[in-house]
């Protein structure tokens, strides 16, 4: 399995079309988020913009999972659509946080195994990415089940407000502490033994001027 870091709108990226279609199938058709339904069967919202980074997971070239990350000092889902779930303070300055949304694993990959390697890979990739970007916390809005999954890999998760029923589902907004320890424990708990996001993904592309000028 391989993780691809796709930044910004990047609509030309070969995986993005599959990403939008798979998201529609999962979040609208299977999970019933009717507000996201679109005629063209692609889940694209206003946060699929220049600020977004997509972590896309492939296996033998096929898209099998994904996640979207938006810096909290840019317009984001947590502080707009879900602001009603946020009562408490953020742990530190918003510029040090990012909002994790649209986490998914292709449904046929979730069957028959205790911990799907796809979601393990995305959890690990998420923490690698957060560390490499210098974030100190990651927020999310999810069903309460995510609290169980997150703590089961040793992450420290703090609710931003009391859980509430959203469309009949027990939902919470919370933040995950980003640390080397959190990367270590998620790798250990999931048996992940490889780096998923190679350092080269983050190499600054130098201007064309030759060195020494």
């Amino acid at each position: 399995m391989q993780v691809h870091v796709v930044r910004g709108r990047n609509s030309d990226h070969p995986l993005m079309e599959a990403n939008y279609r798979l998201r529609h199938r999962i979040f609208v058709d299977l999970q019933g988020w009717e507000a996201l339904r679109r005629e063209d069967q692609r889940d694209i919202d206003r946060f699929d913009n220049e600020d977004a980074t997509h972590l896309l997971l492939t296996d033998r070239g096929e898209l099998v999972g994904g996640s979207r990350i938006t810096p909290l000092d840019r317009p984001n889902l947590l502080q707009t659509v879900f602001h009603g779930l946020v009562h408490g303070d953020f742990p530190t300055d918003l510029s040090l946080g990012a909002d994790w949304t649209r986490f998914y694993v292709r449904p046929d990959r979730r069957e028959g195994r205790r911990r799907a390697p796809e979601s393990a890979a995305l959890f690990c990739a998420m923490m690698e990415y957060a560390l490499s970007e210098g974030y100190s916390f990651i927020t999310f809005v999810s069903s309460l089940a995510m609290l169980e999954h997150g703590t089961s890999v040793g992450w420290t998760i703090t609710p931003l407000g009391p859980p509430a029923l959203v469309d009949g589902k027990a939902t919470v907004a919370a933040w995950i502490a980003v640390s080397e320890q959190a990367l270590y424990t998620v790798r250990r708990a999931t048996g992940m033994s490889q780096v998923l996001i190679p350092a080269s993904s983050f190499v600054f592309t130098p201007p064309s001027a030759p060195l020494g000028m």
Partner: protein, 233 residues
């Protein structure tokens, strides 16, 4: 420090137990258990992550396979929401096993409580069950207890995975199923035919079970699985 923060700092089952007892006490509960739910016929004990039950009832419930008769445990597979034990359906006329468990539980004063099902990936099922009266709980209390239970389950699963809690790692229900067929003398390709898995997957399950149990070959794995009552024949 909040209960949830404290809970996540615990490094042992004992620690989680103490924090949980105090937290659920505020809602009128006195005991609880955190466990996985095994497939039919399997011993529940390797799946128990943390028991706060009276030892006499625990011994009776686990050794007699009550988990497979208990309507509360059964109902966990049918719902994602927490429910009162009294809301777990069973046929009082015909389902004698279920009735027996519920009646005996009454003798141990273990007949009222709140059950929080925990759905894990791959269809695995867990549960956090709190013992006590539920009549006074409002919706807000129920959401808080739901959240608390999931934190406790997650933390116990983490400690269990790391083996820091001294709990021996169980095999998965699927691995147990495959091992039962191995014990019955079936080959990998027989088992693939029976279970609908691929031969490769069957072999993978055997290898995973071997790794978990620290055994050296397939025969050794089956022997250890039987010895530890992870499979029953």
């Amino acid at each position: 420090m909040s209960t949830i923060e404290t809970l996540q700092r615990q490094e042992s089952g004992q620690g989680v137990h103490a924090v949980m007892l105090e937290a659920i006490g505020d809602y009128g509960f006195s005991k609880f258990i955190i466990s996985g739910l095994p497939d039919r016929g399997l011993d529940v004990r390797p799946f128990v992550l943390l028991s706060g039950w009276d030892s006499e009832w625990y011994a009776r419930y686990t050794s007699l396979g009550y988990v497979h008769l208990d309507p509360v445990a059964r109902h966990c597979f049918a719902t994602t929401l927490p429910f009162d034990w009294s809301a777990a359906p069973y046929d009082r006329e015909r389902d004698r096993g279920a009735r027996q468990v519920m009646e005996e539980a009454r003798d141990f004063d273990m007949h009222q409580g709140l059950c929080v099902p925990v759905h894990l990936e791959g269809g695995m099922q867990g549960v956090v069950s709190l013992v006590g009266k539920t009549a006074a709980l409002d919706d807000k209390n129920r959401l808080e207890l739901h959240m608390l239970a999931l934190y406790a389950h997650g933390r116990m699963r983490f400690l269990h995975t790391l083996g820091q809690d001294g709990v021996r790692r169980a095999i998965t229900p699927r691995e147990a199923e495959v091992l039962k067929w191995v014990a019955a003398g079936k080959t990998a390709s027989d088992i693939a035919g029976i279970t609908g898995l691929s031969v490769r997957t069957v072999n993978q399950h055997c290898e995973n079970a071997q790794r978990r149990l620290g055994t050296s070959n397939r025969l050794h794995t089956v022997v250890e699985a039987i010895r530890h009552k992870l499979i029953t024949l």
